[in-house]
């Protein structure tokens, strides 16, 4: 269960964003991607999940030795890829429960597993929601509609807990959250850490990494990994900022 990204080039609207990004995350490890705004952090997340308009012009992404690039987003999800969105979308008219159930049944079907019965599904969702402080009332509302920033992020982590992915990509999960919300979301993520689950935590600030302590930290700037190190690198960046990297490549 290893993620290997080799010499990845991605263009968006004809503009090169990732320019030769290489990265390896061994099974069960949590790696952080840090970098300034506009460095291509979110583009990496979208390229992993297979969003349309993010064109891979060179390089490859291997997950468990298989190329993700030819797969549709739903096939990647079935292979265990999960992107927690920086800005989770509101879907009016689709009840959260309906959405969760449709998604879980879809990935289970693609993974060759049986669908959950209604009572088993309800029990599963309620238990996981409770652990994340997601109120039952939220589950009855249309997905993310009228949710606060913190509620939306918790809903992302709830989806992650229910779909049980093997590769979790968290895109700026801390953005827009107050410190209590960061703690709750981080506890949810930490509860999912396991030897079987690989995680890529994308963040601008070191703050999140106080809670989700990574095995490794990579600095992404100007479309490439500029430096890699241990968790202490995050602390260093918090003090020195990213100027060194953006200046270097200019």
């Amino acid at each position: 269960m290893m993620l290997e990204i080799k010499n990845l080039h991605v263009t968006v609207d004809g503009k090169a964003i990732l320019k030769g990004l290489s990265l390896t995350v061994p099974k069960g490890e949590v790696h952080a991607i840090m970098g300034p705004n506009g460095s291509g952090k979110s583009t990496l997340g979208y390229a992993l999940a297979g969003r349309g308009g993010y064109e891979v012009t060179e390089g490859e992404i291997l997950w468990n030795g298989e190329s993700l690039l030819e797969m549709a987003p739903e096939e990647r999800a079935a292979q265990g890829v999960f992107l927690a969105f920086q800005y989770p979308l509101e879907i009016p008219g689709v009840a959260t429960m309906t959405f969760l159930r449709t998604a879980l049944n879809a990935v289970r079907k693609q993974r060759g597993q049986e669908e959950h019965s209604t009572p088993a599904f309800m029990k599963l969702v309620k238990a996981k929601a409770k652990a994340l402080g997601v109120k039952e009332e939220m589950l009855k509302r249309p997905l993310n509609v009228g949710f606060s920033g913190g509620e939306k992020k918790r809903m992302e982590i709830l989806q992650m807990a229910i779909l049980e992915p093997s590769l979790c990509v968290l895109d700026e999960t801390d953005s827009g959250l107050d410190i209590d919300a960061v703690r709750i979301v981080s506890e949810g993520v930490n509860a999912l850490r396991s030897k079987e689950r690989t995680m890529l935590v994308i963040t601008h600030y070191q703050r999140l990494l106080d809670y989700i302590v990574p095995d490794k930290v990579h600095v992404l700037a100007m479309g490439r990994i500029q430096r890699s190190g241990g968790k202490e690198l995050a602390v260093e960046l918090e003090q020195s900022g990213y100027a060194e990297f953006t200046g270097w490549a200019a």
Partner: protein, 441 residues
């Protein structure tokens, strides 16, 4: 005699059909006179073409190529399979149910109520016309209304008693199960007493492949302070041409909530003509239309604010696939006396194909100065960002599209307070969306 006769072969055939069947149509001498006048008026007007402004997007002259003969009534009409036609949920709704087959009352069931319940009365139109308790009225020069007055064979006359609260809906089911192409014309008269509360459902459904021309009119008068939900399901299939007209008269401070669900008609024109007759009344329409292939569905409203302080709301939504064409025309007239009128209208189309067409025509005619009136119209495709979000969670592309389409088009239906009716109609929407692929390869 008008030398520039608007009459073509089709109109001629319709008039000949009238001459042949007039004697067998129900009604006293007065009714017969109204029918004759109506067909006479039709003879001078002919079927409207796109040159008539109200018919610009639905050219009946071009689209109705043959005049189907009025259905011949026999005692042997087969009992329809309502489970199949309506869906089990709707067929088994606890309700007072009257079933009309090919334009004639066939069966009835008072459900949990008793026939002599003092809260309401219901009788067949053919009897009411013969006894003269209902007077036919051809109305204005609206062609579907004229044809309806000329040919109406049956329908329901419903009276809800003043102050009565009907705890189950009255469900009028109109089934066409023709063995040969024919025209079916039905007409309902509904009178809601002052302060009464009730739900009326009209289901227009059909079975078999025989071409059908259906004309259905409902004349409804809502008394002062009454509260009425009036639901219409139109699902007669792509071999049907349906002309539907509701004439609505609203009393003081009443609340009238019509809901339309139109599924896959060959050609449908749903007209609602609303007259505010007493101050402070509310008209709150929700309409959902589903079309694909070469289907054509038109919703045309004329809302006449004649008196002050009335509220009108129209929410129209449609989903279009294939080369389908949906039309929304919403005309709101605010007369000089209708101060403090509050009118809002919104028409929204979701285009699933590049070859579908949506024509939207709001019209505001405002002659009073202290009013709030607004309208809007949008036409969009499915949102790619939302689709990606669903697919990133493992939901395959087609399912994700269906989920988003359902969320869009079910919104008008969600307004129905009665959960059983709401879920029954939502079930029909889901079935329509799921059946899509077979008819649209």
């Amino acid at each position: 005699m008008n030398v520039m006769s608007p009459m073509g072969k089709v109109e001629q055939a319709m008039i000949e059909a009238f001459d042949k069947t007039a004697a067998s149509l129900p009604g006293d001498a007065a009714a017969r006179a109204v029918r004759r006048n109506a067909i006479g008026r039709f003879a001078t007007l002919g079927l409207p073409s796109r040159r008539v402004e109200e018919w610009r997007y639905t050219d009946l002259k071009a689209r109705i190529r043959t005049a189907l003969a009025p259905v011949a009534h026999t005692k042997t009409a087969k009992a329809p399979n309502l489970d199949q036609l309506l869906g089990k949920a709707l067929a088994h709704l606890p309700a007072v149910t009257f079933v009309f087959v090919n334009g004639r009352l066939q069966s009835w069931d008072h459900g949990p109520l008793v026939a002599d319940d003092p809260r309401f009365e219901i009788e067949a139109l053919h009897k009411a016309l013969s006894s003269g308790t209902i007077k036919l009225d051809a109305g204005s020069d609206d062609v579907p209304s004229l044809l309806n007055a000329a040919f109406a064979s049956d329908g329901a006359v419903v009276r809800v008693t003043e102050g009565a609260k009907l705890d189950v809906p009255v469900h009028l089911v109109f089934v066409s199960n023709l063995s040969a192409p024919a025209a079916v014309t039905v007409r309902n008269h509904i009178e809601i007493g002052r302060g009464a509360r009730c739900t009326i459902i009209e289901s227009h459904v059909a079975t078999g492949a025989a071409e059908r021309q259906t004309n259905a009119m409902t004349d409804i008068r809502v008394g002062d302070t009454a509260e009425v939900d009036h639901i219409k399901l139109l699902a007669e299939g792509p071999s049907a041409t349906h002309l539907g007209t509701w004439n609505v008269t609203l009393g003081r401070d009443c609340i009238y909530r019509p809901v339309h669900l139109t599924e896959s008609p060959g050609l449908a024109r749903n007209q609602i003509f609303v007259a505010f007759d007493g101050e402070g009344a509310t008209f709150d329409l929700k309409a959902a239309t589903l079309v694909r292939g070469k289907e054509h569905a038109d919703t045309t409203l004329v809302i006449d604010h004649k008196v002050p302080r009335c509220i009108s709301r129209e929410q129209y939504k449609c989903v279009l696939d294939g080369e389908a064409h949906a039309v929304f025309q919403g005309k709101v007239i605010v007369r000089p006396d209708a101060q403090k009128t509050d009118g809002k209208q919104m028409a929204q189309a979701l285009m699933l194909s590049e070859t579908a067409e949506f024509s939207s025509k709001p019209e505001l005619e405002i002659y009073a100065d202290d009013v709030v009136c607004g309208h809007g119209s949008t036409s969009t495709e499915l949102n790619e960002d939302l689709l990606f979000y669903l697919r990133a969670r493992g939901i395959p592309g087609d399912d994700a599209k269906r989920l988003l389409t359902e969320a869009f088009i079910a919104e008008p239906i969600e307004a129905i307070a009665d959960e059983a009716i709401r879920e029954a109609l939502r079930g029909r929407i889901v079935a329509w969306l799921t059946s899509g692929k077979a008819e649209n390869p």
